[in-house]
Symmetry: C2
Subunit: 258 residues, 2 copies
């Protein structure tokens, strides 16, 4: 059997600590190609770069790892990997992360980590976004690596069906403190922002985004937020048909179509 | 009754022709506040700006219209509108567009127009993304205005339920050539990219994103792509729970959880 090929990307940039954890996990299962952003791209969602050219730069890396920094978004990285670098090669898995900070709940929509994972699934490749609930640049990824390895092994060695995309979040804690893995649904909370307002050196007012997550359903037992709060690794299977089927009939009535 | 208040935004920037069409439609229903990007933000998806401060600039506008350019993404514009400018005011509707170019099918995920509309729905406000299937800077928005007005009237004057978000695409054509409105589901096609590869003046290779949409289900009668191809305005109700419920049980089995 040919050796497996795993594409690793992230949104914190090729030099982040977290991508090292993803590469270490991927390396246990085969050859690794890394295509990650040159610079931090948190919050870039599914964004693509349309208005400027992008540069791809080879970065020295260890045995079995081929690494590139790309000057675009996480989704740009996945596209240049599949449509250029790996065009004629079979990719067995896309790993995006490990993100510094959780991407549970509605963060799946804003997250560059998950943008890249979703993009990977568009290429027909099982794709896993990995996020650790710790924003620190020097966060401890030991538990994240352990659980990522278990999940990657299951996905690579068992049947998973077409276009699998997983949003995996790991709570903060030592491996022995984590209670296990739970398959969950996406929590339906949202963000309320408080823009910092200050003046720049020229006296112009500026705004800087910050905010708080509002959990609309803290009592729900089956959400990713709840799993994390209870010390479990949350795994949400992700799909990308945003159609609100339940609303189609009432919408036809609203629009006077029947 | 208080006059209605409508927030208008887009992803092509405050100076685009298409936003003029959205403002004209909105003005027929009440007062209008426009918060739109300073610069073109196509393909920015649900992206937010985390790493730099943003500037808000008042732009002179006509009677009943209060207009601002914001130096961030479409989603940033919606956030600064709801969380700062309009914090204590009731917003009746968010209109995002009219985009120069269609946002049917999976483009709902990449589109800054739809990113802003989805964000509007997070604030509990009915939100409509409007896109015309013509990328030209000088596209003809007459039919788009006509159909946008009909849809806005229906949404404002009839019950629509909570968190309504619509992805509306208008085909190219004179008003009399358009065959009507169809409520559809999102087509499940995807993009395959062909990066332009050239050398810059210093001899460095660069990549520039381009690509072709691949319709995976051209025979399906109920998709937005099909409606547009047949000359109908497509309306897809959008929701943002990406959980793939149909896959939860098999995923538990894959992960050895039961």
């Amino acid at each position: 059997m040919d050796e497996r090929l795993i594409l690793v990307t992230n949104d914190d940039g090729y030099a982040s600590k977290g991508i090292g954890a993803a590469i270490a996990v991927a390396r246990r299962f085969g050859r690794v190609v890394v295509v990650a952003p040159e610079t931090a791209q948190s919050g870039m969602s599914q964004a693509i770069t349309m208005y400027r050219p992008l540069f791809l730069r080879r970065i020295p890396a260890g045995e079995g790892v081929e690494m590139y920094a790309f000057s675009g978004t996480p989704v740009d990285c996945v596209k240049v990997a599949f449509d250029h670098l790996l065009r004629d090669r079979r990719v067995d898995l896309v790993l995006s992360g490990v993100n510094h900070g959780s991407n549970s709940a509605v963060n799946v929509l804003y997250s560059g980590t998950m943008g890249a994972a979703i993009e990977g699934s568009f290429y027909g490749c099982p794709s896993i976004g990995l996020s650790l609930a710790d924003h620190g640049a020097d966060a401890d990824f030991e538990a994240a690596e352990l659980y990522a390895e278990r999940i990657v092994r299951a996905v690579l060695e068992r049947p998973v069906g077409e276009s699998l995309c997983l949003n995996v979040n790991i709570p903060v804690g030592r491996p022995e403190e984590i209670r296990g893995v739970r398959v969950c649904r996406q929590n339906l909370g949202y963000w309320r922002e408080e823009f910092y307002r200050r003046e720049d050196p020229q006296g112009r007012e500026y705004f800087w985004l910050t905010g708080d997550f509002v959990d609309r359903e803290p009592e729900a037992p089956d959400t990713d937020e709840r799993a994390l709060a209870e010390g479990y690794v949350s795994v949400v299977p992700v799909q990308v048909d945003l159609t609100d089927y339940a609303r189609m009939d009432s919408l036809r009535a609203t629009l006077g179509l029947e």
